[in-house]
């Protein structure tokens, strides 16, 4: 009993345990880890983690999603969606970054929005501030190094004929930077509870039947 008293200190993360079923609408401003089952609608301004035992049968709006369990429904993420080796998903993904790892299974549409003219290899460093990245991967390590390069675009304004090899184009960056990153001290408006989406937001192909 006494053990529960300590939870108040770490109010930054919500866990849905393996035997728990939530049916309805869930929203919040913190990370959510699902080991049980969530059905209905889910919207978060942070990261959704579906663990291998987790099942989410819902339309999902988040900043990031990392899926190792099962998701049936559409996901709109303002930053990224990752299906890990154990992830299984049926539904549509709308997110500027989508990662599908070998072993994951997926059926549905992927919409990363309009493809920028920049070299794809520069995108991860551009799009996301390293602070808000939920997972450590090589690109994140590189990010701080590359970021200054993009701040000094005046160094190559005459290179018209060449596509911008290796030099990210600054104009494309604010797409993401203005939304998700509360950590930055930019005068960006505070993120609304329902994350704004890149691309067409409302496309919902997979209809969910709620068990009631």
């Amino acid at each position: 009993m006494a053990a529960t008293k300590d939870f108040a200190g770490t109010g930054e993360s919500t866990i849905i345990g393996p035997s728990i079923l939530i049916n309805g609408k869930l929203s919040g401003d913190e990370d959510l880890t699902v080991r049980g089952r969530v059905e209905g609608e889910l919207s978060l301004t942070k990261t959704l983690i579906v663990e291998p035992s987790g099942i989410v049968k819902a339309n999902v709006q988040v900043r990031n999603a990392i899926i190792s369990g099962v998701v049936v429904g559409n996901i709109s993420a303002t930053e990224s969606v990752e299906l890990t080796r154990e992830g299984r998903m049926v539904g549509d993904i709308n997110s500027p970054r989508v990662i599908i790892v070998d072993g994951a299974s997926f059926r549905g549409r992927v919409d990363m929005g309009n493809a920028e003219p920049r070299p794809a290899s520069e995108r991860p460093a551009q799009r996301t501030s390293p602070v808000s990245r939920p997972m450590v991967r090589p690109a994140a390590v590189v990010a701080p190094v590359r970021a200054p390069v993009s701040v000094a675009p005046s160094r190559q304004p005459t290179m018209v004929a060449r596509p911008p090899m290796g030099k990210p184009q600054p104009p494309a960056a604010p797409v993401i930077a203005s939304k998700g990153d509360r950590e930055t001290s930019k005068p960006a408006p505070p993120p609304p509870p329902q994350p704004v989406l890149v691309g067409e937001a409302g496309k919902k192909k997979v209809l969910l039947k709620k068990k009631k």
């Binding site: 529960t4 728990i20 939530i22 309805g24 869930l26 919040g28 913190e30």
Partner: protein, 107 residues
């Protein structure tokens, strides 16, 4: 012990059910049914009918509470609703409005 925590910024509108302890720090509206213990912490606001084994309330609850074992209303809690359980504890400082029924027929 408690696997499930509904954090303080989380709002759930719907039904929660399960076989494990549940800690609520956020907002829950709807219905909660658990085979184990429910902890409604000080930051929590619950507007739901509750069916559990045990419940310990430090936060706000509006709704009827039925426990198969025990209901504990801690100091500083605010509870509005009927409470039904074989054991009911109301601490000094708790505020409570509703009926108390300790004559549980089943069991």
């Amino acid at each position: 012990m408690a696997n499930t925590v509904i954090g303080s910024s989380i709002t759930i509108d719907g039904e929660i059910s399960g076989d494990e302890d549940l800690v609520i720090q956020g907002t829950v509206k709807g219905k909660i049914s658990l085979k184990e213990s429910l902890f409604v912490e000080a930051s929590a606001s619950v507007e739901a009918d509750i069916e559990v084994q045990n419940v310990e309330i430090t936060g706000k609850v509006t709704g009827n509470i039925a426990a198969t074992d025990k209901v504990e209303l801690k100091a500083d809690c605010r509870v509005v609703g009927d409470v039904r359980a074989p054991r009911i504890l109301i601490a000094d400082g708790a505020s409570f409005k509703g009926n108390v029924d300790m004559d549980v027929k089943e069991r």
